[in-house]
Symmetry: C2
Subunit: 425 residues, 2 copies
């Protein structure tokens, strides 16, 4: 086939996806909670019944991955086991239990003219999700979009192609059995990379794009998309130990924020310590980190508190290490801590450890991050821990949603006005 | 000067505006309500004291406008009289009375881990506003941004240049007298058209762009901006008279929705009537509209109910006439009405007239517009009427805000987490 025929064919394919999604969006927007929960239950059943086929499809992806020398960490993320399928099913059952945000009416009040004005929560419409190797995102994202009354177009990584297609079949089956259009969730069934560019320009049909993956994916999506993007950039998170911190809490939180897990976006990357506290908390923290083989990079004053600490560079303050490396800086006070976080931070999650109410208030007000914490570990930055039930991502946007995005983040509000024949004078 | 030197100079100028705004944003974000209200009071005083200078500056604009053959309607919008300045001052006093959304904490609740999670309302940061001839927008927009804790960069129309500069002086004076940085509100002081393009690409410093003006301005801004835009496109609004409508209410509302004012975006452009009602309400409505010299364009069934009704074209259903023209269509039922609005409408404001609860509910749920109304005139679509106190525009966006945008629409929410030394297991 000629190259331009192929391009035309792909354009037609993407446009068709968009049209189908837009039609399906109107159906799913008015579906009852019961119907949506039934679809989720049927998807869970379909996954249970198709376990063997899913694992077989996954084997094809794993073999191709090995042949293509995929890194072991990526192969691990790609693999589906019976236990991982059970976790997906469990996730579906949790989403069934969440309350449905669609149709909620709030802030209804009479106005001087006599009309009653309030807000009604409604789905966003069509959500495009672009993600990388983990195939469980296919089920997660589909379920969250469905429950919040949105149609979804999903584009997974090509390395998980067969796994995603097998999961897509279960989703279609579940939707059909609940009497909903199968095009409520469409999983793109071509590995052609140009399809991503096409999806990002489908602004007539798609209301929002959510990328889930590494920095390069998110940057590509943000720069190419003509559709609004809910993006989650780096988690360069800080813990600041204030001069009025309780030492035990400070040590426990600062250790947990780094050492519990390195790879999650809520992991602390830089520890800030108020100068009067340095000698009280740093020696034992340094010992604990080093026992856990965490590499430390510090400012001069930090290096006076322990051995084997390399000198931190300017670049270290900007870095999300995503591994067993921690930068430590001694600062003068809460002002300098806030200043440091503003300059070097990524506006994700930052925590102050203090017993001083006014320092806590200043930190909460002035640190412009999607989550600000007092006396708690940054590792809590997560939709489940926040009571959202599930999250589709953590937004560092300012508009629309900031922080973990659950079902409510996938909806918006419109105004409703009730009169009784009211006319405007 | 060489062209490229000029470009460089303009780029530097815009970048400087951005940097100043970003620094000022941090100051105004933490300003107290009292301090912000004091600034608004001082701006009102400065306007009162500078009335003569403002009117002189406005005269220069009006003379230039006459010399450039500006349309009389535009000249009228441009003119500042003592009464119009008094209205601006009154607007400021109203904004002072509004409650400050910044710092509001909501949804605080304990989670199973023991941490307490809630949301705090915060300013968006830096808001860029691009608007056309009315100079009162300078004061309005500045006041709304200031009260909501945001820094603003304002770019008015070149035809109002001198007026806007005179108003800008009052704003600077007011900010300074309240001890706030003057760069909280920066009014661009060059008429170089390239400055708009530069502002729309200033995504390192500007968090949101709000265009206020005609369709061509909004389309240009939307297509060029790399910054999220709160946009307000057409108001192609509908009233649907249901088969279960009360005739008196139907006639009163359908007349008011069109005839009260033609030029506002909440004016009805197409009237839909359920077939069983056509003979009951259309004859008297047609008479009332025609007495007011409103040109009618109808479908075949509409034309059977009166004289001098031209045949409506497909294009008429799409059109925001913005004047004394109305399209009328007889539809089968609420389904066909919703379908018509979905196909031809602009998702701005649509109203159903009915006594039937289930039709009202279906209309409210299924019509995907920023405001949906029951038994009320679409002309109510306005921030003041909704109790927002003031509006910076009406958003037809889905993300972030939909409908009239008041102070709350200029803010966002971040998560706050309070622990007592909590670590994540």
């Amino acid at each position: 086939m000629l190259a331009e025929d192929k391009t035309k064919e792909l354009d037609d394919y993407i446009c068709e996806l968009g049209k189908n999604a837009k039609l399906a969006a109107r159906q799913i927007a008015k579906a009852t909670t019961q119907q949506k929960n039934q679809a989720l239950t049927e998807i869970a059943n379909a996954l249970e019944n198709a376990e063997q086929q899913i694992i077989q499809a996954n084997q094809m992806d794993l073999q191709a991955g090995q042949a293509n020398n995929l890194e072991p960490a990526l192969l691990d993320r790609l693999e589906l086991t019976p236990a991982r399928i059970a976790t997906m099913i469990d996730g579906l059952r949790q989403i069934i239990m969440l309350s449905d945000p669609v149709g909620q009416i709030s802030d209804m009040s009479y106005q001087p003219s006599g009309i009653k004005v309030g807000k009604m929560r409604i789905p966003l419409g069509v959500i495009g999700i672009i993600y990388e190797s983990r195939p469980n995102v296919t089920i997660d994202a589909a379920a969250l979009c469905l429950k919040s009354g949105n149609a979804a177009i999903l584009r997974g990584g090509s390395e998980a192609f067969h796994s995603n297609q097998a999961l897509a079949k279960c989703i279609s089956k579940g939707l059909a059995q609940a009497g909903l259009p199968e095009s409520v969730v469409q999983v793109i069934d071509t590995t052609d990379r140009n399809v991503v560019g096409g999806l990002l320009r489908l602004s007539d049909y798609v209301d929002i794009i959510i990328p889930r993956g590494g920095r390069s994916l998110i940057e590509r999506v943000s720069s190419e998309s003509t559709i609004p993007v809910i993006k989650h950039l780096d988690g360069n998170c800080h813990v600041y130990i204030d001069e009025d911190a309780d030492n035990d809490k400070a040590i426990a939180v600062a250790y947990n924020a780094k050492a519990r897990r390195y790879g999650i976006c809520g992991a602390m990357e830089t520890l800030l310590v108020a100068e009067p506290k340095a000698a009280e908390v740093l020696p034992s923290l340094i010992e604990k980190y080093q026992q856990k083989d965490i590499e430390l990079r510090g400012c001069d004053k930090t290096r006076q508190q322990g051995e084997n600490i390399t000198a931190a560079t300017e670049q270290d303050w900007y870095t999300e290490f995503h591994g067993p490396i921690l930068a430590i800086r001694v600062v003068e006070d809460v002002d300098q801590a806030i200043e440091h976080i503003e300059i070097y931070g990524s506006h994700h999650t930052d925590s102050i450890i203090t017993e001083n109410m006014s320092h806590a208030n200043r930190f909460m007000t002035e640190v412009d991050s999607s989550s600000v914490m007092v006396n708690a570990s940054t590792q809590f930055a997560d939709g489940y821990e926040y009571g959202l039930g599930a999250e589709i991502g953590i937004s560092t946007n300012k508009l629309h949603v900031r922080g973990p995005v659950g079902l409510e983040g996938l909806t918006t509000q419109k105004f409703i006005v009730i009169g009784d024949g009211h006319i405007r004078p």
